[in-house]
Amino acid sequence: MGHFHHVGMSMGMSSGDDNSTMAPSHHHPTSSASHSHDHMMMMMPMTFYFGFKKVELLFSGLVINTAGEMAGAFVAVFLLAMFYEGLKIAREGLLRKSQVSIRYNSMPVPGPNGTILMETHKTVGQQMLSFPHLLQTVLHIIQVVISYFLMLIFMTYNGYLCIAVAAGAGMGYFLFSWKKAVVVDITEHCH
């Protein structure tokens, strides 16, 4: 959380000035909401805004200053959100494919008439050191990192970037889940 504070403070009064050129009357609610830290309320924007000047994005060297850079950032964030949806669905598919190792344990149990019945237990799972499980773990780490990056991008409160996240998620879901639904339909006909 200290790192967030540093990012917020380096954005500083410049984004406050930007907000004031866009919407001059909107500073009063934010400054009245704080009690003793008036000068710190404008550090990180707490409401949605549309702008492309001095927008810091995730890393300290990544600052957007022009409309062209904002367009590039829009496309990059869009593709990142699409990739995130695709990664989720790819992991589901990989998990389903790798769970073909089924172990049957048969145990004799006494039946009602003194006969002996065979009870079969089925366990579906992966071994810990198998390659599919390690691959799933690596993909899980990548998925967690990307989901946090998307959350931090949304936290910039920049309207263009937030729209890019939402649209990318929708487009990614549309493209990748289409294929997944067809696969589910074919392989699980006992629906």
Partner: protein, 143 residues
């Protein structure tokens, strides 16, 4: 931005025009956030049900096509049926994608509301999630 939960009647939530100054306004805001969380849980269940409905109707229609195809042995009569099924599936999937966009956006809005660090809003989000789950998830297994 205060980095700890505070009880306060003043908060600015998400948009510039949504500024709260009074207990009545705070109660209303908590109610709105609660309903938003209920809607989020409902959308999750709605997406799953839509997918299930689409798959059952698609499998029924494809099996009907197979039955008619084996009966009539004609390939020219089922091409409009195939395209109609594809169109239905496309529309259903497009609707699901719109629901997914709504789910993503509402989820992020709830995260940003909790990020205001106002304890009343946080309670509203948590309570709304609980109420939404309680109301929506039985509908998941009702089909």
């Amino acid at each position: 931005m205060a980095m700890h939960f505070i009880f306060s009647d003043e908060v600015v939530l998400l948009f510039d025009f949504w500024s709260v100054h009074s207990p009545a306004g705070m109660a209303l805001s908590v109610l709105v956030v609660l309903l938003l969380a209920v809607l989020y849980e409902g959308i999750k269940v709605g997406k799953a049900r839509l997918l299930h409905q689409a798959l059952t109707s698609l499998s029924i229609s494809t099996s009907q096509q197979l039955i008619e195809e084996t009966d009539q042995h004609s390939s020219s009569s089922d091409s409009p049926q195939v395209s109609r099924t594809h169109l239905r599936w496309f529309l259903c999937h497009f609707g699901q994608s719109l629901l997914h966009v709504a789910q993503v956006v509402i989820g992020y809005f709830m995260m940003l509301a909790v990020m205001s660090y106002n304890t009343w809003i946080f309670f509203g989000v948590v309570l709304g999630s609980g109420v939404g789950y309680y109301l929506a998830y039985p509908l998941l297994s009702m089909t």
